[in-house]
Assembly symmetry: C2
Homo-oligomer: 612 residues x 2
Amino acid sequence: MLDRIKHLLIGPPLPTQQLGERRLNKLRALAAFSPDALSSIAYANQEIYLGLVVAGSAGLALSLPIGLAIATLLVIVALSYFQTIHGYPSGGGSYIVARSNLGTLPGLIAATALLIDYVLTAAVSLTAGVAAIASAFPALWPHRVLLAVVLLGIITVLNLRGLRETGTVMAVPVYLFLLTFFATLILGSLKLFAEGPGSLASAAPPPAQTLTAFLVMHTFAAGCTALTGIEAISNGVPAFYPPEAKNAGRTLLVMAVLMGLLFVGSVGLTQTLAVVAAPEETILSALARSILGRGPAYLLVQVATMLILAVAANTSFGGFPRVAALLAADGFLPRQFTGLGDRLVFANGIFALSAATAFLIVVFGGDTHALVPLFAVGAFLAFTLSQTGMVIHWRREQGGHWRLKLLANGGGAVVTGVALTIIGVSKFAEGAWITFAVIPITVAIFLKIHAHYQEVRKELSLRGLPPSIKPFPQPRIVVPISGVHRGMVDAIAFAQSVSKDVTAVYIEMEPGSGERIRETWKHWWPNVPLVILPSPYRSLVGPLLDFLDQTDREHNDGQIATVVLPEFVPAKWWHGLLHNQSGWLIKVALLYNRRRLGFQRAIIDVPYHLRR
Amino acid sequence: MLDRIKHLLIGPPLPTQQLGERRLNKLRALAAFSPDALSSIAYANQEIYLGLVVAGSAGLALSLPIGLAIATLLVIVALSYFQTIHGYPSGGGSYIVARSNLGTLPGLIAATALLIDYVLTAAVSLTAGVAAIASAFPALWPHRVLLAVVLLGIITVLNLRGLRETGTVMAVPVYLFLLTFFATLILGSLKLFAEGPGSLASAAPPPAQTLTAFLVMHTFAAGCTALTGIEAISNGVPAFYPPEAKNAGRTLLVMAVLMGLLFVGSVGLTQTLAVVAAPEETILSALARSILGRGPAYLLVQVATMLILAVAANTSFGGFPRVAALLAADGFLPRQFTGLGDRLVFANGIFALSAATAFLIVVFGGDTHALVPLFAVGAFLAFTLSQTGMVIHWRREQGGHWRLKLLANGGGAVVTGVALTIIGVSKFAEGAWITFAVIPITVAIFLKIHAHYQEVRKELSLRGLPPSIKPFPQPRIVVPISGVHRGMVDAIAFAQSVSKDVTAVYIEMEPGSGERIRETWKHWWPNVPLVILPSPYRSLVGPLLDFLDQTDREHNDGQIATVVLPEFVPAKWWHGLLHNQSGWLIKVALLYNRRRLGFQRAIIDVPYHLRR
């Protein structure tokens, strides 16, 4: 039943040998890895607008210069990651690059930053996507949290189905967005050409603050979110068709060019057309509305924006589980994250990402602007560590043009490092501190887990054991019985089949009942000694545990007695309520006892199956 | 830790031999068994008032006649139960009497009616008690549900401590109530003597309905709740000091006289002093206020009323668990209800009663008046069946004065039967239907449970087995291994100690890993064959179950293989999260498989205890 629901949702299981086949061509890979990067313009634009509009028209006049600065940053970072792809064709995420070049600790910091970044990408993209559609349909505005969580659920299920299906589903919205948005930008340019620039001075609200250097820095920091997602391809190189690195590198360059055009084009048009947003509306919505009016074309743009942002959340579902699996393979996360699910995806990683994202969406009330400070820190920390790692990599590896490649990555490291500092300082109080606090805690947990696995590995080593391992002597067996009936027959027969030393034990809850039991017992099992234990306090497990401990001491043979538990298996689940759960009580007691004594007995469950 | 909290709440465990000693003297027994009966006047008065006030002063003028009719009923029922106590000195509740004289089905109907009655006694007493105190402190009125549930919790804990402690705690409020209430009635009589009767015509609100025969019947039916609780002593005869029946019978008569005086006195004074209630106030509170004013004496009466009603709920805690234990001993309820807890009380019955009562209080919003229709039906159905059973009993047993005794019980049966009909008809739509619906459903469940126990008993019988039961042949043992490490050593050694036929099985989740395992395996356990099972769909349990089924078929020896599960026992609970829960998965799968195949394999857990 559960299996069927599962198959309906995520499809039938796939054999492991299909793993190599689940590759993506470039068009599909662009759709799978670029949406975060492309759609970043939605919230980056919004952040620049919100950052500058408080300074009125004088502030908004700085939109384009700030946009161009960020675009320059984009070029540098893209070239830097182009080098990374060729340096690490097997998939060089920030974690691998930082770890292998800078050491374990920087690697773990990069990994943590990256995981946080993936969660925030999903959260920010979903909330921004819902904001885009709620700009067009204001009735949805109060239900943004619910809508974002529902979208998250849909994406989670699609990802559990596997990457290629995901690629197909996701390709349509990506190309729809590119098409409609470029068309809007072209129409906007024509409008600008025909009508001339608008007047910011008359359109902008009166300034609430004066324009300071800090305000500009602050806006630049928030706008840097435009770059988030650019690293996704370098993480997913093995998903491309061979030659993987070459195909991935080309896809990265195409993506960077598209990002730059969209970003600079939209920021530029917003400023020159003097667009300002209504309350409960995003600036991109205002831009599209001013160019296209309120007709179906505008609605199509908003739907496309929502869809690509939803798809952007999907980028995280590609990246997060992979990084978690890498960490788990190195022993920094529970082993379960390495397990490929039925559909050859890292199902546990997908679940973890989905849960964390839902948590953030709910806690931050579905507000993109509140999430952005947390977001930018993680992304730029990972960028900086990864680029710095690549610098070390090229110095060590050398090879053709290595100085040029080192320069590219060095430039990336410096500019992302500077951007990180600006973001950290200007956004600290607004939420960046959360990311700064979570990173060391997470790294400490990683190290703790790793230490545990190391210890267990040492403990489990067979080194030092004698060359041939001897079997134990036959176990002493104790069978707690509840009476003389058919349910005991199999248990005693099994106990006798595995040992000559079998003792039955009856806990006498009701004084005198033991003697009656002994009479019938003698008749059926004359060879099995029966010990009757009084239980003045009507406890089942107390006298049994005492007896076990006492006989272990008396025998003093280095062995602990094994317990055989006769267990009723009812035919219907509700029948289980009608039988004293003695077996269950004894099992729990032996477990609890083990915690006290530092050992646990072997327990043999011998089922007796009730036919009705 | 849990043990300590438990001891603090309910006291240390008591040995079974103290069971005989937990008896009550008459003063304590009156306090333990009478509060429900005595305190009934609180809600019976209220029901009579609410029933008649809608017909204005003409209605209220009928209070005393109706009160006298109910008092007559009380005398008949009390004499009837006096006979029951002497006919069944070992504790003759309605269930035992109806079952042994009328047969199983009437017995079960009586038992169900009784159980429902106990639950409703608790619910009605608690809500009425809270209403009494909220009449004096109107700020508490909106919090009646919460207050009632908190009181219920306190009473539950006291009962888990055991009956004698309960008797002591409860005696004070009972005698306080008797003292303060009789004092009030005496003062009221003096006032009546001094000032003369009041004028109902001027005090009563204008009539909303005309006075009809149905309205009178309806009020009589609701007022019959005054009798509830009168049967408690007949159920608890064994708790008295010997001679039990004589002591219990005398206590019953004392109780009936006190009930009659309180009831007729308060109804009579209410009518003759022309007392009417304010909104959010009970009529008893209005009576006390009109006699005592608003001073401390009035407050003391309200507190005493609240306390005795809380104590009345306690009567149910004496009765319900006993009836449940009787039913369980006869196989109509799960056996767990017969188990005496640490403190020699039927703890499971106490829990069940407490849960059901809390449910009713919450669902009916803590409103006594809404609960009364459900209440009266259960009580009078149990009365009628019990008295009818006694008629049969005397005819069968005969003995001294049997005709007189038969007449007493016959009279009881007739009047309670008539009252039941009146209640059922006039209160049907108001909630009596719920009780009528619940009774057959509950009886059906009792019969179903009984049938199951009968079948199991038959199935468990050793009759027909050969006189000497042979042990099984040595089991074939299969050990699923996760690798070659220290955790396997004990499991293999144990398996070898109990059987010569041991096979290790490795599920190859990652193609090729099996061969590496085989190499090391050969080195350490050359004598234990290792089977490597490919798992193309990365399922752990699928290939294992297939292998077990297949080898069972191949051996065709009538045996099913036993599984030895090596189990990691981590040193700290959170370490459990860091290991693949393979053992757990396999256990669940074997259980699930059993449901499909109709059998379950014996499972041997061999723990390996991680030191850190």
